[in-house]
Each structure stands twice: as C-alpha cells, then as structure tokens.
Amino acid sequence: MNDPGKCLLKRVIRRIPANMLKTTLSHWGRVSDAQLQSVDFTTSKWALTEKLLNICEENELTVKHVTELEMIHVIDYPNLGMWYAFQLFDPDDAAPSVDMTQFKEQFKFHLSKLMRNVSVKIKKHTDEAIWIRVAWGDGFSRPNHMKPTYVVHHLQSSYVFVTRLTSKLKPLLSQALVLSTRYQGIKDANLSGRNLAALRNLLMRQYQQVFSTKFSTPLAEKSENISNPQIEREQAESATKRHQMACEAFGDGVLPQLQSAVYKLETKFRDHNNKTMTDREEPFKCIVKFTSTNLLESLRHCASSGIASTPVTPLLSSVPVKGRNYFVITDNVPGSSSQTNRPQK
C-alpha cells in the first residue's frame, strides 16, 4: 500500500471508537475472519494500527479499499461536521424514473468530465439514501483522499446534503448532481447543522407536529389546596394556551436538533421613543445569531415560558415551517410594517 493509503488508514482507525472497531472492520469485509481473530482489540490504538497495516499489506489492499472503510465509519457517525442542505428544482419528465444504477453511472461520468483527477465512491445505505464520497484532485495532482466531500441524496427527493465542500468545487458538484438527477437546477436551501438526521427530518417534516385546533386538550387539575381557584385557573389557562401555541409553532416532543439560526436584518429602525432614528431612511443593519444545543426546543421553551410573546413571530417559526436557518430580512415595501424573508442569493 502506498503512503496516502497508509495515512488514510491510520486516520480512519484513529477516528473509529475502540469499541466499534471490530464491528466496523468485519462490516468492511476486506479482512478475513481468521485475520480478525488474530488481532487483539484490547491493545492500544497505535499497536492496533501497526497490526492492521500489516494485514492490509498482506491482503494487497489499496487506497480505494481504505476509502470504503472510511465511508462505513462516516455513515455510522455522520454528525462530526457541518452539513449544508441544497435543493434541486424543476425536475425533467425523466427525473422520477432515475434509479440507483443510472444515477451512479451518470454522476461518475459527468463529474469526471468536469474534473480530470477525481475519485468517486457511491454506496447505497439501508435507509435508501445514496452516500457519495468525492476525493478531489486537479489537472495535475492525484485526488486528495484526506479531504473528501461527502454527499447524501435520497432518490426521488429534491434535497441533497453536503459536508466538507469548498466554494471552489461547489459549481462542479452542483452541475454533476443536476445532470445526473435530471433536474434543471440546484440552490442553497439555507439550512445547516451538525446533525444530518435532524436536517433531513426537518425538511421532510418527520417530527411531531401540532396543528391549531379549536378544542385544545382538556385542562388537568393540578393541586388540591388552591388559594384562589379563579386566579389559579386563569393562570393555568394562559400557560396552557402559551404551551399550545409554542407547540403549534415548533412541534411537540423531541424536535430535530439544530444548533443555530442566523438572521441578517436590514430593516428600518422603528421606535416611538426615538424620532431621529425612526425618521432615518437607511435600514438598521445587524446580524442576530441564536445558538443552542437544540435550538427548536430552546425556542419552544422561550414561547411556552413567556420569554417570547405568543403567538410566535413568523421569523422564529419560519425555521421549522420553511426548513431554513439562514434568513435575510428586509422591509417589504417602504413604510409598511411587514417583513419578508428573502433567500440568500
């Protein structure tokens, strides 16, 4: 095995958690059972790597084989980097009939036409997702396997998730995707996060949603010795109402894990206490970034606890409704109070 292969193997072994190593290796299928038996998985990672390097030499494995191992690991642990969502638009008539084999051939064909030295590996995962690993080179250098781009796409859906893509290579990947899926174009979906499954669930509406209803759930009696039943009831009622509205805006139960939402505000400053600024023509430019370990749950708690007023402003509820977490907000028409969300580009 050559040096890039060794480097890659070392890195992959280092990244796979020790308790998962044996399972992942047997899943890989490039190492025989007898060889696996001979490896002592209780030794240090360093010793393990040496041993595995020897086995790979023995089996005459190449970089290509090691990239398979990396793919297995990335599919098992997808939440290690930042994922960006893209949306395909205007499908051709042929788009719904594109199948796996066709897509695979087309994608490889188009990408290699666009770029000479590029190494593509495509794998179908159990949940019908297509995982693509692209190692980029350029006209003169071989593909760099240490900095691959990963792409996840569900056939017949219009969403594509990408991680570790540089802006320079974005047009190439976009073009290859558009051609091989038979769509007219692809655009930034303005959604990003560390949790791939969360992005997918958010865009495909796979979380517990609550719909506005006239008859909200009956109120459960809470405490026995109520000092003033009237006040208690009134407070409980408004609390329930707030909770209901919070759930309507963001959903119920466990929500998809988003880490942040960014708003670029370019709106007029309006404050009845400040005439000078209100009279000013230019917009007040600022950027607001919300961060949390689970943004939607935080926002729901804001609304249900009363920190954020209910009904929830469309700006915040747009995150789950539109499946986006990047917004540019400008005034709709000069003088009117409504705002519109304009896409990034």
Partner: protein, 362 residues
Amino acid sequence: MDRATTSAASTPHRSALVKRRSKSKSHRQSYRSCSGGAASRIGLTPALTARRLNTSRKAPKSLNITERVNAEHLALLVKTKWKLCYATPLYQFRHTMLKSYARQLSAFIVAEKQRGLAVEVEGAQNHFRASFSVLQGLAEADDPETILIQIHSKPLFSSSEEPQRCVWSGWLSCINGNLDYLHSLPQGFTCLPLFGSSGTEVLTTLVKSWCQKTFDCSFGPLEINYTSLQWFMALLTNCHTESNIQHLKMIWSIPVEPPLQVAFTVSPQDAWELWSSVRTATRDLADPGGCIDFEEVERFTQGLKSHFYRHFRLDLSAGSLKEVSTALGGASINGRVKISNSRYMITTLALLTECALLKMPI
C-alpha cells in the same frame, strides 16, 4: 528583559491622607443608585458610602498615552486578554522596594514548586524569575502608580543557552480611583484595587497568595455586571468617530432549557447613529465633549433591545448580558477584558477600577 531594576524610586507614596482639593465634581453628590445590583451597598463611613458606580462620566478623550507609557509595556497591555480580580488595599507596600519584592516572589514560587520534592533540584532557582516594575504614565491625579509583575521561566527540558520566556504577567492598578475613598484610607495602605492576570492559573494563585502574605490583602473575583457592561458598550461606541469600532457585538444568554445564546451584532455606523440619537436629546451645549449620563446609556441599550423585540418578540431583559465587544476592546461578565486600542486604555481602566472598588468587601 531585566525589568526588576526599573523600580522608580521617585514614585510618591500615595497611600497617606493627602490634603488635596477634591476634583471639580463631588462624587458623593452626583452618585445616585443605578440599576446595577451592586449599587445599593450600604457603607460604614461617609467616605465609603460614596462607593457607587458613577451615573455620569466624561466622554472618553482619546488620550495618546503612547508617549507616556513604555512601548513594550503598552504592547503587552494591549495584546493580552486579562482576567480581572479585585484586591483590597495593600499594607506597607512601597514603590521603592520592588527589587526586593521580585526576589521574595521568585523565592516563594520556587519554594512552592519544590514542595513535596525530597531532593533539592539543582538550579531550580533559575527556573522562575519574577520581576516587578512600575508601569508609568497610566496613573492620574492621586492614583498610586500601576505595578507590573512578570514571571519568566524556561521550559523544563531546554538547553541552558535558551533565554527565559515570560510565562505569566499581571498588574495591580488604580486609575481615577474615587478620591474620597483614597483619602479615607488609614496610613500605610496603598490602594491598587484592580488586579489583572494572564498566564496559568497555578501561577496566578501563587502570586495572589504571596501578595496576601506580604501585604495582608485579599483577592476576589471581579464580575463585570450588567450596568458596567452597558457602560462599556456606550463608551466604546462613543469612540466610533475617532477610530472605527468595526462592529458592536453583544452576547445574551436566555435561561431556557436547553440554554439559548443570542449574539447580536450591529454594524458600526448604525450603532453610532443610534448612540448619537439618544445623546443629542440631552447634550449640554455648554459642555460639548461633555459628560455621558447613565440615562443615555440606558436609552441606548433600550433602543437596541426594542429593535430586537420588534423582530423576534423575545424580551432580552429576561436573559442576561454576558459579553460586549467591539474592535476597540471587549469585556465579559466573568471578568475577562481585552483593550485593543491604547487610546481608550485610561477610560476603560477607570471604569474597571470603579467596578473593583465596588466589589471590594467593606
């Protein structure tokens, strides 16, 4: 590198009761309780009751202190992020004895480092060398001169030719300290309430405990409260016409489950225009550079908060302001500050000195 020798013998001893005309503005009269929690402390003596955060302060003059302060010292102050503490007045501290303090502190550190070792390590003395120097040019009026403490060391396994590197720096300062308070101190005490440090926590603790033993003082964490952070924001924004603030960034933390953080960044020109709009209403024409009132500062934050509320219907007052920053400097609630521009060093340190005096237990 040997800064231990630069102790300025000429520094007058400021600790004693100095009979001096009070500054033009009597602090006691102008002090009012402001919204900060710490403001409503009750003092024991009339002089101590004056220890409230100023509700009005001079607009930061852009002071060119580059000529007054040693360039090397200034570079250190500007490039470093400092962790702040308050320090109670030092007893029997002399600006003339810095050389001897340096020797004592070096010995103290070496002794503490060797504790638990059975054998005396050869040449361990050379591993840590403390130096004390006077940071001249910062002090105003009756303030005692700022003291800079640095600890130089060599990595454990380095060759003997390698020069020692500065591994820890810290300073004790008092800028524009409340005169009534400074004058009320009994004989023998020097008030240097602001202690900034940068380096390993271990060395910070050692320096603090040496000071505690030597000068009978005590240290405590200096939180920069909401009121002071608002002051920071306003004072820095006020500088925008002279040097670009690049951005005004506030970080708020909202107490929900899981905790929500809001970073609110305003473009420099808009921040400045909002600031001048809340100022012009009360600007005293007789005093152009003038004083800034806390009411103006509050109107400024209120304006920013209401702009935020108008969009998100989320009340930032429910959370707490954790951090403010601009290109000129920044401060966070846990007592970390960075002053990136030397021109506003004095103003910033004056505000922090006030915070430290307030934090000090009575």
